[in-house]
């Protein structure tokens, strides 16, 4: 609206529009995170008395449990992201290139439906399917594959199933939109020039879909790393996911300093992976985020 109004009204308008944005970004994002940083660098030395220290971070490195859970969370998240990409890619390809019109739209809609229902409900489904008294163990017994029902919950593989399941949507959507914009004639040309299926995939399709792949992987990795519900319900009660450690420190033990340090370590890991992902694929943050 720059064409109309005097300079004062323009400034007033700018101020009015800027205010909510600043209240949000400064008041709800920036300051709380600064406060969390300060919190993580202090130590309680007496009732109501605090001093600067690195004690919280020292505890993290000195206590093998915390370190192990951190690494475990990171490794499982990387595996889950890779698996999600492997499963989602053929699906996105099918929707974007192998089907047309109504079939394609229908398949896409069907892929979205489960994600309109909350993660709690989906996790409840997996629990009923996989626990010892659940559906799949009963099926295995009746098929004669196992003699007694096996407990399928509380295993790493189960967590992976749950995490991949929860993440699929966030991979399918960006992959689909980047594959859809790939011109079919480019693929045909590559075949006409004698490229094999694998060569075409590697030299034409994947480079074109790179922004979508990056966007999907970044979002999925971040969501898995920060997941609480799936990891804690399918993974059992041992607090072996890092977000559970944060919860335990913050809410159960009321040790906010330690919890804040854990929170920052998780944030650092998550930001590092986002940065690495952007770096390796040569993408820009803003471009990638606008695809998700």
């Amino acid at each position: 609206m720059a064409e109309v109004g005097s300079k004062t009204t323009r400034l007033l308008l700018l101020g009015l529009l800027l205010a909510p944005a600043l209240v949000w970004l400064v008041g709800v994002i920036l300051l709380p995170h600064l406060d969390l940083a300060l919190l993580s660098f202090r130590e309680r030395i007496g009732p109501g008395e605090f001093s600067w220290s690195l004690a919280q971070y020292r505890t993290f490195f000195a206590e093998p449990l915390y370190w192990d859970v951190f690494v475990r969370t990171a490794v499982i998240s990387v595996i889950a992201t890779g698996l999600t990409l492997l499963i989602a890619f053929p699906i996105a390809w099918t929707i974007a290139k192998l089907t047309r019109g109504r079939v394609s739209a229908l398949l896409f809609a069907v892929c979205l439906i489960p994600f309109w229902v909350s993660e709690t409900v989906r996790t409840l489904g997996w629990m009923i399917l996989l626990r010892e008294t659940g559906v799949l163990p009963a099926v295995l017994v009746s098929l004669g594959i196992t003699d007694t029902p096996v407990e399928m919950l509380y295993r790493d593989a189960t967590i992976l199933v749950g995490l991949v399941y929860t993440s699929l949507l966030f991979m399918v959507v960006p992959l689909y939109s980047s594959l859809e914009s790939l011109d079919d004639s480019l693929i045909e040309a590559a075949y006409d020039l004698g490229g094999s299926g694998w060569t075409v995939l590697r030299t034409v399709v994947i480079p074109h879909a790179a922004p979508g792949i990056t966007a999907g992987c970044i979002v999925v990795f971040m969501l898995t790393l920060g997941n609480y519900l799936t990891a804690s319900l399918l993974g059992g009660k041992n607090s072996l996911w890092f977000t559970e450690q944060i919860y335990t420190q913050f809410i159960t033990r009321f040790n906010w300093e330690q919890g804040a340090a854990f929170g920052f370590l998780l944030l650092a890991l998550s930001s590092l992976m986002v940065w690495l992902g952007l770096r390796l694929s040569g993408q820009k943050f803003a471009d990638v985020m606008s695809r998700t």
Binding site: P32, T94, L124, Y228, W256
Partner: protein
């Protein structure tokens, strides 16, 4: 189908099998949850004991409290609706002002600001939750020390839950609304100005009606994401639990099929919203 591509029979069969297996994987948990809402047994586990509506309508007889008689659960649904309503209102309003700020204004530091607006989307929800929890109670302590005010709303509870969810949902609303505002044809507004319309009149009769699909779409997405949010909410709840936190607590303790009944209710409600939206605007983005 790209017609000239060589696609051997085995590859076509493999694709078909893969897609079918994928769909089974996608819907198996949902179908299971729904089915066991109607099983005539005290726990959601096989074998099938016959059809019942007890888990919806049962009233304490035989120890079966149905969903509609479970005041705790019904209360938590209301709590979630209340939170989601506030979150939606705040996010869409701020999302709209943000969209105008980024698309219609030019000022120094705009690039940085637009980057900052994306940051909440890459911060894990748990961390958004704890940072707001810690900061709010620091502010509350400060208000208590300096002015002697009891700032109850800054202690864990629904106002903080709203604040926590708003912190990242505004970013989503901003993206959705900006995307549509960007495609707006400015000559329409100029024409209205030339015809003598005032600024508020142009906003009310031209720009906002054009933005309507994005406003409705982002409201629906934000409402749904607020209703489903768990990570941020868990860190900020006080005495009143929203539905997701309530369900989580019961799932840990091994609950009755009443949770399946709630789930069926949620599936029906969100499918209805989804269908309405898809009919309304095909270009909706997630």
């Amino acid at each position: 189908m790209i017609p000239s591509l060589p696609r051997p029979l085995w590859l076509r069969i493999a694709t078909g099998v893969f897609v079918a297996a994928f769909l089974v994987f996608l819907f198996l948990p949902l179908v299971t949850v729904a089915a066991f809402a109607f099983n005539d047994a005290p726990y959601p586990a096989p074998p099938w004991q016959g059809f019942t509506l007890d888990w919806f309508t049962g009233n304490d007889a035989e120890g079966r409290t149905g969903l509609f008689k479970d005041e705790e659960l019904m209360g938590s649904i209301l709590t979630s609706l209340l939170v989601a309503a506030w979150v939606t209102l705040l996010s869409v309003v701020v999302g709209t002002t943000n969209a105008f700020l980024m698309e219609r204004m030019r000022f120094r530091g705009q690039g940085l600001l637009s980057l900052l607006m994306l940051v909440p989307l890459v911060i894990p929800g748990v961390i958004l939750g704890i940072s707001i929890l810690a900061f709010a109670s620091r502010v509350a302590d400060l208000l208590g020390d300096v002015f002697g005010w009891e700032a109850e709303f800054l202690r864990p509870g629904l106002p903080l839950v709203v604040l926590g969810q708003v912190s990242f949902l505004i970013a989503i609303a901003t993206l959705t609304i900006s995307a549509r505002l960007k495609r707006f044809d400015r000559t329409l507004e100029e024409a209205a100005y030339n015809l003598g319309a005032s600024r508020p009149a142009v906003l009310a009769t031209i720009t906002l009606p054009y933005l309507r699909p994005a406003l409705i779409g982002s409201a629906a997405i934000v409402f749904l994401m607020s209703f489903q949010d768990f990570n941020t909410t868990l860190m900020l709840v006080g005495a009143d639990s929203p539905l997701t936190v309530m369900m989580y607590g019961r799932m840990r303790d091994g609950a009755t099929p009443v949770l399946n009944a709630v789930s069926v209710f949620l599936m029906v409600a969100s499918t209805a919203i989804a269908l309405l939206l898809m009919r309304g605007d095909d270009r909706r983005r997630t």
